[in-house]
């Protein structure tokens, strides 16, 4: 009965490589994003106008897309390593891995749809 399998097998080694590569990227992307929205500008002034002005520039569209994708990969890899560390048995490990991958996929999809739809409304009406 107890034959549950993870939907995808992702080894510790792969998680480790993904963590390091996206980690270096995120150190710049995430800190840069926080600096821009909380230090260089006050957070109260980063409403719709701020986002619209930013997404008029290709640099920030690429920045935000890269940030989103790297975050998703980094969170998935990091969470999998924690699950491998702390799960008592294989069945729990598989179940938790699946929950993590499903949750990260859902939020990555919402993020990508958001970016896509916002860009469509900004640029698609010309």
């Amino acid at each position: 009965m107890n034959n549950s399998q993870p939907a995808f097998r992702i080894s510790r080694t792969l998680s480790f490589i993904v963590l390091r590569i996206t980690g270096v990227a995120l150190a710049f992307l995430a800190l840069g994003h926080f600096f821009l929205t909380h230090i260089a500008n006050d957070v109260a002034e980063t409403g719709s106008d701020f986002i619209l002005a930013r997404w008029n520039s290709l640099l920030w569209i690429i920045w935000d897309s890269a940030l989103l994708i790297c975050c998703a990969a980094h969170v998935a890899a990091g969470a999998l390593i924690i699950v491998y560390d702390y799960s008592e048995d294989k069945a729990k490990r598989s179940m938790r891995s699946n929950v993590i991958l499903a949750t990260v996929s859902v939020f990555l999809a919402i993020g990508l749809l958001t970016l896509g739809y916002a860009l469509f409304t900004i640029y698609g009406r010309s």
Partner: protein, 165 residues
């Protein structure tokens, strides 16, 4: 308060509870695996001993906990930007939460987590690839701690500024 603000705040409270719960899990495993996240403190204060000596375990656990905390905040942030795209008329009111005093304090915590997690991550990579000795690695951690605390204090002054203005 409108409905979206109530949902956002409920999710924020849920997120905080999750962070506390995961903190308990990580600290419990730390106790099982290597005498707690702060073996030296445990030994001095509680008379407990550990087998793993008193290396910089706290940095490992703070890295893990800051990572979990930031990761749990991300769904909220993804959802509020989704509101910007799909329900633009509601976004300004929802976004106003970020400018309130309690949320600004939360953002200072987020800044600390981001700074520590980023810098410590880069430090770990450097220690690995430059093959730094235990002593030098400990020194880089001291330097990192000072830098992170200084930058967090500087950033917090700027973030909290409008509260006192």
């Amino acid at each position: 308060m409108n409905l979206l603000q109530v949902i956002f705040l409920s999710l924020l409270i849920l997120t905080t509870l999750f962070i506390l719960q995961f903190t308990r899990v990580v600290l419990r495993w730390a106790k099982v695996r290597d005498g707690g996240a702060l073996p030296k403190l445990n030994r001095v204060l509680l008379g407990r001993t550990s087998d793993s000596g008193e290396s910089a375990n706290w940095a490992f656990y703070l890295h893990r906990l800051s990572g979990i905390a930031i990761a749990l905040f991300l769904p909220l942030h993804i959802l509020d930007v989704a509101v910007f795209a799909f329900i633009p008329s509601e976004f300004e009111e929802l976004h106003a939460i970020y400018g309130t005093a309690p949320m600004r304090i939360f953002e200072c915590g987020l800044l600390f987590g981001l700074l520590f997690h980023s810098f410590n991550g880069i430090r770990i990579i450097l220690v690995d690839y430059l093959d730094l000795s235990t002593k030098v690695a400990a020194q880089t951690l001291q330097l990192l701690t000072l830098t992170v605390l200084f930058l967090t204090a500087w950033g917090s002054v700027i973030i909290l500024g409008p509260v006192f203005a």
